[in-house]
Amino acid sequence: MSVNERDPHTGHMLTGHEWNGIKELNTPVPKPVWIFLIAAFLFSVACWILLPAWPLGSTYTKGLLGTDQRDVVTEQVHNAAMARSVWTGKIAAMDYAAIRRDQALMTMVRQDGHRLFGDNCAACHGINAMGGKGYPNLIDRDWLWGGDAETVAQTIRAGINSSDENTRVSQMPSFGRDGMLDGKAIFAVSQYVLSLSNPGAVKGTPAETLRTGAKVFADNCAACHGPKGLGDHAMGAPNLTDNIWLYGGDAQTIYTTIYDGRHGEMPAWSPRLSATDIKILTLYVLDRGGPPQ
């Protein structure tokens, strides 16, 4: 094949190379390509002149703009904190009741609390704070540990059965596994517990069993759950009469709870979250539960 062959379709010359039938045109690189290449190079040169760019031994060219990503971030974080301090300062200074009366401040709490709760608490308590099995509903006004603001804040700060030295400690003993009660007694007391909130569910149960259950309860459970089963905030022991269940209120689950015991855990959030953040979360949780009583 001649080097001077011309491709009839494009009118360009061929290079004369051929590989298994593939030929090449000798088309020059179009001008715009060079223009773009030069433009991209100029853009790069501008970046190199303005920004930190080329290493020089143990240092580097700092760039005419004199920016540095660390300084930029530090400054941005500082400025954001300053802007927020307008209202976070008030949160830190005022008491809970006063803040809850201040609608403007509560708007901030709701906005910030939504994000804080979503990023830190929702994994266990659910995005709506309504909990799930083993994780309490935080907006039903039924509290394990008590619902006044300082108590809730303390729960969040120190956690429950956590590694923090001030942690709240609670334990539902495993009466069956540890051999404190036999199966019959556990069955009886579980039926009794069921009858406290749901008398209809134990219609078929012999009165004798319920009486035994009541006795077992008085002997073994009342110390924590109270003589009437109304619970005790000091022990973190739930109210058993209200049809609000942490682990479940059917006969089988109650039996399992008593047999195996329960040991809920919640991590401590101080110092991971700042005191103000914990205050905001406390307000947020209480606010989600409805207006102050």
């Binding site: 290079t15 090449e24 045109l25 970046c47 060219t61 906005q111 929702a122």
Partner: protein, 549 residues
């Protein structure tokens, strides 16, 4: 298969396989004493070598090939490579779609460790990149290097060693992830012994390629070969440096990288981005440069653009890796360099894409009628789109929005599905009839159907991820009047849900296309309709035979 090997090569294969079986036994025994999962890999190596050994023995007494073989190209490894590539395609894409559904419905893990997202994801990436892509590259490179050099490969054993050895690596990689064996380096997850094995295989590959080129009967080396060579050479370099590690014990899988901290991150992304460059771009550009002009029967638009494109791509890519680490502990000057070189990289990338599309001048009617050529054309279009997007995303302020979001996933898949997979399918549809000497594919309608499924799947996938990525990026940076972020991470997860479902459907379409492709290829091979010798697609080998070795 074995009948193509000389008696000496058959004996060589047996020696290699027995050695491998011994190594497997030692691995199994040594690691078995401590209960290390590497022992499972020992058994896999043993079984693998015994299985291949059985194949060699099975064909051992077939007559040795005569000198006449030297008059033709050696294509058996390419045929096997294409079939293996399609099998990996189905496995890799199936697992990919599985993890896509897993992201939409995270509970679908059967409570088993092996089926968690963290273990399945690398099965997907390794399956499609190394299994599908790698085997397709090896198979086509064997085909192209012989044709464009007008020379037969120097021997019959080393191509098989490369292909079979490479697949042993892939099997070790994928099974390791399920067992929990991983270096936790993205796209370089396999542990030290698998890495060493790949080095041996890869060096053999490089030597084989160079030996074939050295025997070439053409005065010049064609562009496709430049790209294949760059692919082989640079991947060797990347693989060795990024995988430098010290095993905790020779009887165990665990190793620790030689790098730590920010150097480690930089090495990993120097590797990661150049894997994109030299594995997923250079190698597939080689395919594009051979199969597209061949199928279109048009000359390459511009030899000069080929040159500028090649050197631009190979030079600029080397610097771009740090754009994966914008706004991290990596010093800012490295980020600036990564950003600026990524911007310049756009020009040679577009030169390559434009050169391919302009080659179709005078063949656009074929693009309309021939789905195989359309696969390749569409691949070049996606190549252009993806490289534009990549350079754009490398600009720091843009990256601050796109980074860590699904936009990155969308970008990768525009490249992986739209560019890499489409050019591979196009090349395979061109190559299968040539290799098996058939007039054409079994069903052109099915090729057409595959094309539209693949295109639809890619578009659905990419648009879903663009949407979800930009929404994520915006949600993560939206502030409200209290001066804090408006959305929690969970809020953004909930917003992603519909897009995850859409993406999984896109993936399903793409997988369906690949399955149709498998069926079509299978039927093409099974239904012999050989073409006349005169209508072959290869120029004959030069009359002067190379002496047998």
């Amino acid at each position: 298969m074995v009948s193509g090997l000389t008696i000496g090569e058959r004996q060589g294969a047996i020696v290699i396989l027995v050695l491998l079986a011994v190594i497997g036994t030692i691995m199994a025994a040594a690691a078995g004493r401590t209960g290390d999962p590497m022992s499972v890999h020992g058994f896999i190596v043993l079984l693998f070598s015994l299985a291949v050994l059985a194949v060699v023995f099975w064909g051992y007494y077939t007559p040795a090939p005569d000198e006449g073989r030297l008059k033709s190209y050696y294509d058996d490894p390419s045929k096997a490579g294409i079939i293996i590539a399609m099998i990996w395609a189905v496995i890799g894409m199936f697992v990919g779609d599985w993890v896509a559904w897993l992201l939409a419905y995270p509970d679908l893990t059967f409570d088993a460790a092996w089926s968690s997202f963290g273990r399945l994801r690398p099965v997907h990436t390794t399956g499609v990149i190394f299994g599908f892509g790698g085997n397709a590259l090896i198979a086509t490179s064997f085909h192209v290097m012989q044709r464009t050099s007008r020379a037969r490969m120097p021997d019959q054993l080393s191509p098989w060693f490369v292909l079979v050895g490479y697949n042993l690596f892939c099997i070790l990689a994928v099974s390791g992830y399920l067992l929990g064996i991983t270096q936790s380096r993205e796209y370089a997850e396999p542990e030290w012994y698998a890495d060493i094995w790949l080095v041996i295989v890869w060096v053999t590959y490089l030597v084989l390629y160079l030996r074939t080129l050295a025997r070439r009967k053409e005065p010049h080396i064609y562009v496709a070969n430049w790209y294949y060579l760059a692919f082989i050479l640079v991947v060797a370099m990347l693989h060795i440096v990024n995988n430098l590690a010290v095993p905790v014990s020779y009887a165990g899988a665990k190793s620790y990288s030689l790098f730590s901290g920010v150097q480690d991150a930089m090495t990993e992304w120097w590797y990661g981005h150049n894997a994109v460059a030299f594995f997923l771009t250079a190698g597939f550009l080689a395919m594009l440069y051979y199969y597209l002009p061949k199928r279109a029967e048009r000359p390459i638009y511009s030899y000069r653009m080929s040159i500028v494109g090649f050197w631009g791509i190979t030079f600029f890519y080397m610097w771009a890796g740090s754009h994966h680490l914008h706004y991290t502990a990596l010093p800012q000057w490295v980020q600036t360099l990564g950003m600026s070189f990524s911007a310049m990289l756009l020009i040679p990338s577009w030169i390559a894409a434009a050169n391919a599309l302009l080659t179709l001048n005078g063949a656009w009617h074929k693009v309309r009628d021939d789905a195989t050529l359309r696969f390749m054309m569409m691949a070049a279009v996606f190549y252009g789109l993806t490289t534009f997007e990549g350079s754009f995303m490398a600009i720091r302020p843009v990256n601050s929005l796109s980074h860590y979001t699904d936009w990155t996933i969308g970008h990768v898949h525009a490249g992986a599905l739209g560019w890499v997979a489409l050019i591979t399918f196009g090349s395979i549809y061109a190559l299968v009839p040539w290799l098996w000497k058939r007039e054409r594919m079994y069903s052109l309608k099915l090729v057409e159907a595959h094309f539209w499924l693949a295109l639809a799947g890619t578009l659905v996938y990419v648009f879903a991820m663009w949407n979800s990525g930009v929404i994520q990026g915006l949600m993560w940076r939206t502030y409200n009047e209290s001066g804090t972020l408006a959305y929690s991470f969970v809020d953004s997860m909930i917003a992603m849900h519909p897009y995850y479902i859409t993406r999984a459907i896109g993936g399903l379409l793409f997988l369906a296309g690949a399955l149709i492709g498998c069926y079509n290829i299978w039927m093409t091979i099974r239904r012999p309709a050989p073409v006349a010798e005169s209508a072959r697609w290869d120029a004959p080998l030069p009359a002067a035979l190379q002496p047998a070795e």
